[in-house]
């Protein structure tokens, strides 16, 4: 590779955020270089400053709240931090372009996909009429989108297609550098693999450099030439991918590499004749779609079709599938929080016709933990109030007894009981998820439904939360329904796994069988995309 002039050179960059009197140091003294045609991945956990670094390059931060006390960024020898705004605009989208994590919000919902690509081209190049149309079709071809989709609005496209449109916009002016900020995080694994492959192909064809921001080491392994590991705004280690994965130098890098969910599910005593704690037969959930005229039959969308499941005491049922496959809807139906057809038996009661009031006494036995640890705790209640809310409904205790229970449960989920008077916003994602688990466990339920409980967490935290869940299961003979799109996580905790696709359970069996001897081609693809280490 050409070593004389790096395409991008970041020299002792620091970025601070100043809010009132407080100063947050997001990036501290970071230096790196990118050669033309190279892929550099910046890896780190959330809050490590990797996105801020990427945004600093194009000065996309909220100035003057953000500012750079030191550092220089050279792009092809030109300094970017002090460049005048007009010149910077001609570089943005033209020489350096960027793709973002969330393709739904990054596209304007009111404009057609083709027009949005056209706009980017128009900004920097004088193309009109037929020529412009030709160029748009060419770009759509490059990102493998049928050309008739040029007239589609963003909501008519799937997540993967939207991300392809974003990529088409980013490469429209053949940039020298593409900054990809978590480009595949919001996508399903199979789509993720396609997008990465696409990026790699385009890179080879156009010879552009890629700066990839990600927290996902498996993505890094697949596409990056060199890796920079960040923690707390500082560089921990920089090496080429091969070296980093085989001989990591720093302890932090090692811990990141080791933080893969592994191990086996909790040992399960299967004495025959045990009755399932929860079972469903022919469970379907239908949503009405569109408007209905008088007396017209409603058009129905089958979110869940004929689901048969059963869970033994102490067992974990893993539910995997891509987004939109009906996993969460199934959980909501089992909780009786959406209406459904078919039988549900919970603790020997047929609950499928229970309403809110008849269901209430059973709620203490079936609890739920949600995905987003930031959304699932009321920001205006202190931790003690949040955890003890269910106790107030289901158990008649004095305030002292309640307090004691809260203290006990916090210790059980490895949190300091002194935090019970504080508020959710003071805690990290992992701590919040522990609090959410404490809230579920304090009622001593028999079954907990875990809806993507680890998806919003960093890998190392995921491992800890999984460990905690297993410990609790061992101790209290809990049953779990574990919903996740992350196959590695599911494998490490589930005894039994079902695979869902478009509302249907397409494969069901012991985890061992599903992961080692999948029968359906869909399951095979899913496993290949998630668990293989190459593209």
């Amino acid at each position: 590779m050409n070593k004389q002039t790096p395409l991008l050179a970041v020299n002792r960059l620091s970025t601070d955020f100043i809010q009132g009197a407080s100063r947050t140091r997001a990036v501290i003294d970071l230096s790196f270089e990118i050669q033309p045609g190279e892929t550099l991945a910046i890896v780190g956990e959330s809050g490590s400053g990797k996105s801020v670094t990427a945004h600093s390059i194009l000065r996309l931060l909220p100035y003057p709240v953000a500012h750079h006390p030191s550092g220089k960024i050279f792009f092809k020898g030109k300094e970017l931090l002090n460049i005048n705004p007009n010149k910077l605009r001609s570089i943005r989208g033209n020489n350096i372009s960027m793709i973002f994590q969330e393709p739904l919000t990054a596209l304007n919902p009111l404009h057609k996909a083709g027009d949005q690509i056209g706009e980017v081209i128009n900004l920097h190049k004088q193309l009109r009429g037929e020529a412009l149309k030709q160029r748009i079709i060419e770009l759509l071809d490059q990102v493998d989108i049928p050309t008739d989709k040029a007239n589609a609005y963003p909501h008519e496209l799937s997540g993967g297609q939207r991300q392809r449109i974003m990529i088409a916009m980013a490469i429209a002016n053949e940039p020298d550098l593409l900054i990809a900020d978590e480009p595949t995080t919001a996508l399903d694994v199979t789509v993720q693999a396609q997008i990465l492959k696409l990026l790699k192909n385009i890179q080879q064809r156009m010879g552009m450099a890629i700066l990839l921001i990600t927290h996902d080491l498996s993505v890094v392994k697949k596409v990056a030439d060199r890796v920079l590991v960040m923690q707390h705004g500082k560089q921990v280690e920089q090496a080429d991918t091969q070296t980093l994965f085989t001989q990591p130098q720093q302890d932090y890098t090692k811990s990141l590499l080791d933080a893969e969910p592994s191990g086996d599910p909790v040992h399960l005593d299967l004495n025959n004749g045990q009755k399932p704690i929860l079972a469903s037969k022919g469970l379907s959930v239908n949503f009405e779609v569109g408007k209905r005229w008088f007396f017209q039959k409603p058009r129905l969308f089958n979110a869940v079709k004929n689901a048969d499941i059963s869970i033994l005491p102490g067992e974990t049922l893993g539910v995997v599938g891509e987004s939109g496959s009906g996993k969460s809807t199934l959980a909501m139906a089992l909780l009786r929080m959406v209406d459904s057809e078919g039988d549900i038996h919970f603790l020997d009661q047929a609950i499928n016709q229970y309403d809110q009031n008849t269901m209430r006494p059973l709620r203490k036995d079936i609890q739920v933990v949600f995905q987003d640890p930031f959304g699932s705790l009321s920001p205006r209640l202190c931790i003690a109030d949040i955890i003890s809310e269910g106790l107030k409904v289901h158990q008649d205790l004095s305030p002292e007894q309640r307090e004691q229970k809260v203290i006990d449960i916090l210790q059980e989920v490895d949190l300091d009981p002194a935090i019970r008077h504080r508020y959710p916003h003071e805690f990290s994602g992992g701590q919040r998820q522990r609090i959410a688990i404490a809230r579920a466990v304090i009622l001593e339920p028999k079954l907990i439904i875990l809806d993507e409980p680890t998806s919003a967490l960093d890998r190392s935290i995921q491992v800890q939360v999984l460990e905690l869940l297993k410990n609790l299961q061992r101790k209290h003979q809990l049953s779990y329904i574990f919903i996740s799109h992350d196959l590695q996580v599911v494998r490490s905790i589930s005894h039994h796994t079902i695979v869902m696709k478009a509302g249907e359970i397409i494969e069901s069996g012991t985890s061992e069988a599903i992961f080692n001897r999948p029968r359906q081609s869909y399951t095979k693809n899913l496993l290949a995309a998630a668990l293989s280490s190459s593209l």
Binding site: G20, Q367, L381
Partner: protein, 345 residues
């Protein structure tokens, strides 16, 4: 429960700082509070009864109690008329009187005006008198108090009803929401001012009647905002978590969603307050508002219109209304900015 911890106050502290950094709104708040507190003590500022009377060694406070004239050695069993020089002389013989700064109340008809009413501003009547020989300054400060108290009561009442209605519509959604929204659309399409005029000509409007009638039409203002917050709130994960825990609907609404809606409500309140003041003033101006004789700014505006040659009437009314409304709008802007998370830096 909501504000019991110093940890939670971090966000409120930031809001308070934002509020304070808006100098215009901050000083407007203090000025308005000062005026309001002063007006609450109007009886000690402008009154035709002395604050304190000392007579034969004992003290009397005519502001709070009514004493017959015979107490001070007069002839009548009725309440002493302190503006009567005869009574004043009687008291001064054996004691003294402490008068408020302005020796007239809002309904005192001044008998010994130097020129026919309305008389121009003078040392005795700082803002002159109106066409019924009543002191304008006294009427302005009493009128200010009535307007603000009325508006506060109306705002409070319509907030309580509006929040409850919005909460129920937003939380339950579906048919309840549909019916509620259609009802509100029709209800707020009614020509309020005309209905108020018709209603107040059927019943003699006391201040409570007026409050009730205006409440019937003003509660809809907050419904949309609160409904939107609840529609959003009922799908939040912590609300789902509470439902999965078996928490009852009313507790969920009150504990989990309402605090989110409160911010939106608080943002609107100062503007509802100014709206209420304006409505009351317009009704008074048209003569359908407070009962005749009460201290009302709208009536003063009407007098200004009726007596264009007596400029002090119109100017006083204009000045006090614009000061009051401007201050409230400034306060409202500052509150809105302080509570708006997007503007907070």
């Amino acid at each position: 429960m909501l504000f019991n911890s110093d940890n939670f106050s971090a966000i409120n502290q930031r809001r308070w700082l934002t509020f304070k950094s808006n100098k215009r709104g901050y000083y407007s708040t203090w000025l308005f509070l000062l005026l309001f507190v002063l007006s609450l003590f109007s009886e000690f500022i402008a009154n035709d009864k002395p604050i304190l009377v000392s007579y034969e060694g004992s003290y009397y406070s005519p502001t709070f109690f009514s004493y017959p004239e015979t107490t001070f050695g007069g002839d009548f069993e009725t309440e002493a008329e302190y503006s009567d020089p005869f009574v004043v002389d009687l008291i001064n013989e054996k004691g003294w009187l402490l008068w408020p700064v302005v020796p007239y109340s809002y309904d005192t008809h001044i008998a010994d005006l130097p020129s026919p009413a309305p008389s121009p501003p003078s040392r005795q009547n700082w803002l002159g008198t109106d066409d019924q020989a009543r002191d304008v300054f006294a009427r302005v400060i009493y009128g200010f108090r009535v307007s603000v108290l009325f508006a506060l009561a109306l705002t409070l009442g319509s907030s309580v009803i509006g929040v409850a209605a919005g909460a129920i519509q937003g939380y339950y959604g579906g048919t309840i929401d549909l019916l509620g929204q259609r009802f509100i659309e029709i209800w707020s399409g009614l020509p309020v001012l005309f209905l108020l005029i018709i209603l107040s000509s059927i019943i003699t409007p006391s201040i409570w009647w007026l409050l009730a009638i205006m409440l019937v039409f003003s509660w809809t203002q907050l419904v949309d905002v609160v409904r939107a917050e609840f529609l959003r709130g009922r799908n939040l994960e912590y609300v789902k978590a509470a439902r999965a825990m078996g928490v009852s609907n009313s507790v969920i609404m009150f504990r989990h969603i309402l605090p989110n809606a409160i911010v939106a409500t608080l943002t609107y309140m100062p503007f509802i307050l100014t709206g209420a003041i304006t409505t009351l003033t317009s009704l008074d101006f048209l003569g359908f508002g407070l009962p005749p004789g009460s201290a009302s700014l709208g009536e003063l505006v009407a007098q200004g219109k009726g007596n264009l040659h007596a400029g002090w009437l119109g100017i006083s009314a204009f000045a006090i209304l614009s000061i009051m409304l401007t201050l409230l709008v400034f306060v409202g802007e500052a509150v809105r900015d302080a509570l708006d998370p997007r503007l907070a830096q």
